[in-house]
């Protein structure tokens, strides 16, 4: 039964922890979202459950977590719509050969490295309810993802959005995310059809019909929202409600088909009209509640499922080290090498590799899906969460080292002068 007092208390504690740790992380030049992710981990068995198990059990009893999960899932549905909305993969065409090559290699190289790691980890951290193909593909997808929203925030906070590296990174990350989610949808279908009562062909054919409907039917009606926005300078509450209902309907369709709620929300965002004013308005409308209230709940729920360093002994730390090294080598190394081979200067290529290595929040979303469908074990989940934290944390200091702020400012000013001239 719902204990409302406990749920409200949980939300309050999570929000305070997220804001405080987020503020502390900002003090060390990390994005706020990095601190919020860490706050979630600190509230789970990795810290609170370890140092104060009594308090942890009283505050987050297992029976109460269903409600927290439900709220965080609703938040994620809206958040994935926002991510889809912010994406504009057509921008890639503007950045030429370097962007096309880097975005492809930054998916394929870590994917391959992930598969290679799976050869070692499958007999140690998986079980026979999961096929090697499912495990390896999931590892590949999880290694190749880039956190588009976190990346955008890091670039914005450092004033890098209009730099050469920044625009290239955003374009590559957009392509990475779209590709990554398509691959993940395939993996979810692959894993779920082996357990589902529904025949595989229904899921596959249904998914194709759904995507076709979204791209060729629903998409044709969406510019009407943009026209209304242009006419009135805002969207009425009724129109915003219609957009929310469309997001929920799309999410429900993909869940019913056996893919996942989040894919539907993401696709709805991706097919929305992409004019800058319209997307900025919608982002502003949806982001505040999602980012301030609901995402910290997701981080906390993720943290409650993560057991960094609890159980497993030295072997788990060894596996974690392998995963972190492989993830960095595949993503950072692959992107950097591809950009360099496409003629990008070394400093820019290295910066691009560092930025593409940011996994952050999107990695946590994917890992939670993996744990939900049973393709990764709880220990593998914790290792990958640690990897996501490390790769996100290292972005800002490494970027400062490779591309100091004074050089960046000079480059941005130079570009601005050239555009004025």
């Amino acid at each position: 039964m719902l204990n409302l007092f406990q749920l409200v208390l949980q939300i309050a504690v999570i929000l305070v922890a997220a804001r405080v740790v987020g503020f502390l992380f900002q003090k060390i030049n990390q994005p706020q979202v990095m601190g919020e992710m860490v706050a979630g981990i600190l509230l789970g068995p990795s810290l609170l459950g370890w140092v104060a198990p009594g308090m942890s059990a009283a505050l987050f009893p297992p029976a109460s977590l269903g409600y927290l999960n439900a709220l965080s899932q609703v938040g994620l549905v809206v958040f994935m719509f926002v991510v889809g909305l912010a994406l504009n993969p057509t921008e890639l065409h503007d950045y030429g050969h370097a962007a096309v090559l880097t975005s492809h290699v930054s998916i394929v190289a870590p994917f391959c490295f992930g598969g290679l790691t799976a050869l070692y980890l499958y007999p140690r951290l998986s079980d026979d309810s999961v096929t090697f193909t499912g495990f390896a593909l999931f590892m590949g997808a999880a290694m190749s993802i880039t956190a588009f929203p976190v990346l955008a925030r890091i670039l914005s906070e450092r004033g890098l959005l209009r730099s050469r590296v920044g625009t290239l990174a955003i374009a590559c990350a957009a392509v990475d995310d779209v590709t990554g989610w398509c691959i993940l949808a395939y993996i979810v279908v692959l894993v779920r059809v082996t357990h589902a009562a529904r025949p595989a062909w229904v899921t596959i054919a249904g998914s194709l019909v759904y995507v076709a409907l979204m791209l060729f039917v629903v998409r044709r009606f969406l510019p009407a929202f943009e026209r209304s926005f242009r006419r009135h300078g805002r969207l009425s509450d009724n129109i915003v409600a219609v957009i929310v209902v469309l997001v929920l309907a799309s999410a429900l369709a993909t869940e019913w088909l056996g893919i996942h709620l989040l894919f539907g929300a993401f696709l709805m965002g991706a097919i929305m009209p992409k004019s800058h004013e319209f997307t900025s308005y919608l982002l502003h409308k949806f982001e505040s509640v999602t980012v301030v209230l609901l995402l910290p709940l997701f981080f906390a729920f993720t943290g409650l499922r993560t057991r960094i360093g609890v159980g497993g002994g030295a072997a788990i730390w060894f596996y974690s080290a392998i995963v972190i090294v492989v993830a960095i080598t595949g993503k950072l190394g692959g992107s950097m090498l591809a950009a360099r081979l496409a003629g990008t200067p070394w400093r820019d290529a290295a910066s691009l590799g560092i930025l593409m290595n940011t996994r952050g929040l999107m990695e946590l979303v994917i890992l939670n899906i993996g744990l939900d469908i049973g393709v990764i074990s709880p220990a593998m989940f914790s290792i990958m969460v640690l990897m996501a934290l490390v790769t996100t944390f290292m972005t800002t200091p490494l970027l400062e080292w490779v591309y100091p702020s004074r050089l960046l400012r000079a480059e941005v000013e130079d570009l601005a002068e050239k555009s004025v001239a």
């Binding site: 799976a118 050869l119 079980d127 309810s129 590949g140 049973g374």
Partner: protein, 127 residues
């Protein structure tokens, strides 16, 4: 072409090699327990069904007893044997119809024989 094509080919090779790998037997999920009725011990009566909730990560497992005290036991899986401080069992049956048979220790009793049947494979582990 080379930068993308070669890793893709490599991935196919990896998937082919990986097919021959064997992972530990799956025991994750909720289990109902039946104890030897001849056992003269009060311990089993404290357990409510499903009596075991197993969270598995490869060859390690965390067994949570549904005894109202949230007792957990660390276990290891070696082939078809599950071994823990107060439990030893053998895994039998195919994936999806798995059975655990063995002995469990309770305070003040001789080890009690049990047979456990999995309710459903662990589709949502970690929940």
């Amino acid at each position: 072409m080379l930068l993308v094509g070669l890793p893709v080919l490599g991935l196919f090779g990896i998937l082919e090699v990986g097919r021959s790998l064997a992972a530990p037997l799956s025991i994750g999920g909720e289990w109902t327990l039946e104890f030897d009725p001849a056992a003269n011990c009060g311990g089993p009566a404290r357990l409510r069904q499903p009596a075991l909730n197993i969270s598995q990560s490869g060859t390690s497992a965390l067994i949570a007893l549904n005894d109202g005290r949230a007792t957990t036991i660390d276990a290891s899986i070696d082939g078809s044997t599950v071994a823990a401080k107060s439990l030893t069992a053998t895994i039998t049956g195919k994936q999806g119809q798995r059975v655990l048979e063995g002995k469990m220790d309770f305070d003040g009793c001789a080890p009690v024989a049990f047979r456990a049947v999995r309710q459903a494979p662990a589709k949502k582990r970690g929940e």
